[in-house]
Every structure is written in structure tokens, then in C-alpha cells.
Point group: C2
Chain length 347, copies 2
């Protein structure tokens, strides 16, 4: 497929061109890196903000996302949504696909919703999600919501590719305590206890707050050994305040289905954004992400180089029996291929 019509379509703000561009990037087809380079030159200009929303299945993330869309549309902000289902190699994306209808918003040209499956791209999902978010930002969306199901490492990586990460929990998910124990608490900037009219909501909220409080206490004691040795006798009420540039993640009670807590959430998101700006972390995070992205692009380029180098595949095929028999190890064969690439490359 020729890339130029896609680039021209993006310039004209044609949603069909955007959809095509996303497909190219998602599938790493054709000159998708040209599309991404085109988008890159248009980033960081309009004050676009990226929010990641994650949590266990059934926590009400889609409903909350829908409410956020309504809120931002009320402010005439354009909203792009990327719904990522890391389990989709096994489901074809059914887990999100079912839930992402969001019909209230679907005919609004100021809203663009895209479901994304992983297509088996191990380790690369967070990078691809960020790249799709770049396309949305370059296209002119003011708010980009990245919704992902689950609290495993892949999901967290995806949610954390945004500037602000929201973790949505529900009392009845049964994952409450397990999630706490799994330490995923420590990765979000804002916590939402959704369906907060149900039994156990207050308890869950308190648990999360205690967890975060304990963590802050520990973190502070860590940089103040003298205080640590005192703390056994003086007790936890003696905790010193956190440094003024630290962010204290709020825990928000919400009933997304009724819109309750949504205003608090949007305020928290605004506060966190201001915090990132004032502390210099917005700019620092952006630099760090660009370095990571370049490394990811470099590794992809390396893989493509291996795949395009006929000798590499040929050699691997020729060595397969040796591998099976144990005469050569995968590391011997990899080193052999790498040597060929290194010496052959300069010719």
C-alpha cells in the first residue's frame, strides 16, 4: 500500500486515513515507520494529555471511560480511546470487544475509539499502544484514554505508557486484597473504588489508603534512618509529611454507572497533570519515553535485519538437527548467526 495517500489523509484530518494508519502501525506493515515519523513531528504542541485506565475484569473501566468521554466532550475537547486487551491472542479481543460499544459517543466526530488486539506481539504491546497514541495526538485529539483489562505486567506496561495511570477496583472483584498484595497499588497515580455503593467498598477504600500510607511512610523512613529506628516506639502516627514535590495518589469513591465520582476523578487527573508539569516530570518522562521508543525501534530493526538476512534463516534451518541432538546449543547457533551478520554486514 502506498503511504502517501495515508499521510495526505492524515493532513486533511480524514478519520478513514487515521484508521488505516493505525492498522499499518498495529500490524507493522509497509512503511509504517514513515507514518510514525510523520506523526512524531506533530507531537507535544496542543497540550494533549494521555490517561491510562486499568483494573481487573468487571471493574467498570468502560463505563468510567464513557463518563470521561462525556465530561471532556462537554468541554469541547476531542477524545481518542485505545482499548487494549492483552488476553486477545486467546479470545480475539472478545473481553473488550463486547464492552467497548460506548454507543452514546459513537456518532460524535470528536470521539475516536479503537480496539487493539495484541496479535501475539510479545513484549511489544506497550510500544505499539504508545505509537497508536502518537497517531491520535498528531491527529489532534486533546485527551487520549488508554483502557486495558487486567493487572498483570503486560497490562501495567500498557497503562503506564500514559502520563497518568488510573487503577479501577471494585469491592466484589475478589481481587481487592490480592491486588493489594500483588503490589500493583504502587503503580497508579489515581485510584478509583468503583461501584462504591456495594458492600465492602469502604473497607476496600480504607485498605488502599492504608497501603498507600504505609508505603509513603516506608519511603520516607528509607531516606531518614534515624527516624526509622525511632518509629517502633513512636508509632506510625509520627510519620513526617511527604516531600512537597511528591504526589499523593488520591483514592476516589465512584459509581460510574450513575456518574458519581467522575468530577472528582477529572479534578484528580487535572491535579496530577499540573503536578507533572510543575515538578518537571512531564518533560523528563517524555524524554525517557523517547529514548525507550528509539531502543524499541532499534530492536525491531534488528529483528527485521535478521529476518531479511537469508543466511540467518538458512543457517538456523541447517543447524536444527544439531540443536535437537544436543551437538550445538541455541547459544552456539545464535553466536554463529550474529558473527555472520557482523562480518557480512560491512561488505
Amino acid at each position: 500500500m502506498a503511504i502517501d495517500p495515508v499521510l495526505e489523509g492524515l493532513e486533511r484530518r480524514d478519520p478513514a486515513a487515521l484508521a488505516r494508519a493505525i492498522s499499518l502501525v498495529e500490524n507493522q506493515r509497509d512503511d509504517y515507520e514513515r507514518v510514525l515519523s510523520h506523526a512524531h513531528a506533530r507531537l507535544g504542541r496542543g497540550g494533549t494529555r494521555r490517561v491510562g485506565i486499568t483494573g481487573p475484569p468487571g471493574a467498570g473501566k468502560s463505563t468510567l471511560t464513557e463518563r470521561l468521554i462525556q465530561h471532556y466532550r462537554g468541554q469541547e475537547l476531542r477524545v481518542g480511546v485505545i482499548a487494549v486487551d492483552p488476553t486477545s491472542p486467546f479470545t480475539g479481543g472478545a473481553l473488550l470487544g463486547d464492552r467497548i460499544r460506548m454507543e452514546s459517543a459513537s456518532h460524535d466526530p470528536g470521539v475516536f475509539i479503537r480496539s487493539m488486539a495484541t496479535r501475539g506481539a510479545h513484549g511489544g504491546l506497550a510500544t505499539t499502544t504508545e505509537e497508536v497514541a502518537d497517531l491520535l495526538e498528531a491527529f489532534g485529539f486533546d485527551r487520549i484514554l488508554i483502557e486495558t483489562v487486567g493487572v498483570g505486567q503486560t497490562e501495567l506496561d500498557v497503562a503506564r505508557s500514559a502520563e497518568t495511570t488510573v487503577l479501577v477496583l471494585v469491592p466484589e472483584s475478589g481481587d481487592g486484597i490480592q491486588t493489594l498484595k500483588a503490589g500493583v497499588m504502587e503503580i497508579a497515580d489515581v485510584y478509583v473504588v468503583n461501584k462504591s455503593d456495594r458492600p465492602g467498598a469502604d473497607k476496600l477504600r480504607t485498605e488502599v489508603e492504608v497501603m498507600l500510607g504505609i508505603r509513603r511512610g516506608n519511603a520516607f523512613r528509607h531516606i531518614s534512618p534515624h527516624h526509622r529506628s525511632d518509629s517502633r516506639t513512636v508509632g506510625s502516627s509520627d510519620r513526617k509529611p511527604v516531600p512537597s514535590d511528591a504526589w499523593e495518589p488520591p483514592v476516589i469513591a465512584a459509581i460510574a454507572s450513575r456518574g458519581e465520582g467522575v468530577a472528582e476523578l477529572t479534578h484528580a487527573l487535572d491535579r496530577h497533570h499540573r503536578h507533572l508539569e510543575a515538578s518537571g516530570r512531564l518533560a523528563a518522562g517524555r524524554r525517557e519515553r523517547l529514548v525507550q521508543r528509539t531502543r524499541a525501534a532499534l530492536e525491531r530493526g534488528m529483528r527485521q535485519w535478521i529476518a531479511a538476512t537469508a543466511q540467518a534463516e538458512e543457517l538456523l534451518a541447517r543447524r536444527l538437527d544439531d540443536l535437537v541432538d544436543g551437538r550445538r546449543s541455541p547459544y552456539d547457533v545464535a553466536a554463529e548467526i550474529l558473527d555472520q551478520l557482523k562480518t557480512g554486514a560491512g561488505r
Copy 2:
């Protein structure tokens, strides 16, 4: 660290040398690939079997693992256990660390238990787990149990690096239906409904069986279009039998804490192993895994090459301002570095 004493220790079957070898591999330190090559030459000789055990937190995987250890020890088989916690970047491995005491087995030289954290190694956890399993197999363990917490993609990749994958579910996990929906059912060879004396166990077991049955039905209709068009009128009872070389995953009710269902599980594991052997899938799977491993080793080698090439890092640092300003994209810079590697390599 010199590698030779480690290799000599492995030859002597010194458990301390094994522990050191695992640490080297886990941290990719020194000549760890020599250690792995050494192990590779000793694989596939003693009929070692690898079993992956996964499921949501609290499903009783550790208890079940402990029961399997007892069973195999009763047959005088040596057992190695790798306990992997993919959430550990956030917890330091606490989720498994708490549970993996397995005191009943800890003083038995025929049992070796190793907890493994991810150490932030994105995408590489399944590979590292397989490599540690290689070390255990080369050391002489007859059964290798790979236990991992959770049902996300990373966890499944780890569990599926074994020859046989067991998914453990519990009625009260609350994840039952969600797990079904997420399609993770389709990845296991054996299903265990643990704590099967609790309310909801029969229901969960039926759901899993229906899910597996439906899937087989669909799969069959997929290869028989004529049958598919008929099926609406004739109904699902008309399903033809699955092909004789297909494996029908059993669903086993267990109460691991009392040892109930453990004999059924070990029979199912034996049956699955015979099925893999008879169908040729054991050998085919081994070949495929060796190819994947070689590719993984090659990619690691590539990354090390990039890291060791001073110009690559230098160039990236020099281009950082251009990246931030949007004058160059990560893809431009990656291509530039790759070009330097390609042209510089042959000199």
C-alpha cells in the same frame, strides 16, 4: 566469576553449583550462555517431563505443587520446582515468596525449589524460565514443575513453556467466569477445579466442560462447512467426535489440602505425556522450542551488540534534543544507529 568451577560443580551434582548457575542465568551474568550450552548437551536423555501450573492468586497452586512433589517422591523421582511471580517487579516476589515454603519437602535432597522474580525483564521471562528448567533437567531432575501466579499473557507464556500446562481454578476466586470469557481455558491441557467442596464448584466444573465442549464443537464445524449449515436445525447433540489424535482436556475436581484429586491429576499428566509422545508432538514441540530459543538468544545477542557499541549510545544521546523537538523521530534515529552497525560491523 569464573565459570569452570560452576560447571565442575554441576558435573558433581553439587546443589550449590546449581543455585549459582541459576543465578547466573537469571541475571544474564558473565558467561551464562556457556553454562546453558553445557546444560543443553545433557538434555532429552532421562525422560524428564515439564509441567506448568498456573491459575489466579489463591487457587491453591502451591498446595497442589506440594502434593505433586510428594507423589513423585513416592515414586523416587527427583523433582525440581520453579516458582515464577511475574508481578514481582512491584512486590519483590512476595506473592509467591509467602507461599512457597513447602516445608514438607525442604530437607529432601531429591527436591530443589527455586523462586524466580522477573527483575523487569520484559518479554524474556518465559525464555529465562525455560533456561532454568534446562539447568534442572541437565542436573538430573525427573519432573520439573513450573508454577506461576496469574492468568495474564506473561504468566501463560511461562506456563506454556512446559510440555503440559495445568490451569487451577477455584469456585470462590470470582475469576471463574471472567477466566472463561478471557479464553484462557483454551491454553491448558489439564484443568483442576480445586477446593471442590466449596459452593459453586460443580457449577464451575460444568462451565469449564461446556466451554471446552463448545470449543471442540465449533472447531469441528469450522472444518466441515456443510455440517455447520445443518447444525442450526439438528442442534449441538449432533456434534461429531473429535479426531482420534486430538487431546480432550480433562477437568479434575480436587481438594489439594486433603490430597483429593491428586491421583487423578497425576494420571492425567501421564496420559497427556503419552499422548504427546504418540502423536509426535513431544518431538515437534521440542524442535519448535529450540528454534524459538535460538531466536531469543540471537535477539539478546543483538541487544548486547547495540549496548557494547559505543557509537550507538553516543548517537542516541546526541540526538535526544532532536527527538524531543520533533526534528527527528525515534525511527529516524534507530535507522541511523542500525546503519552504523551494519556498515561499521565489517570493518
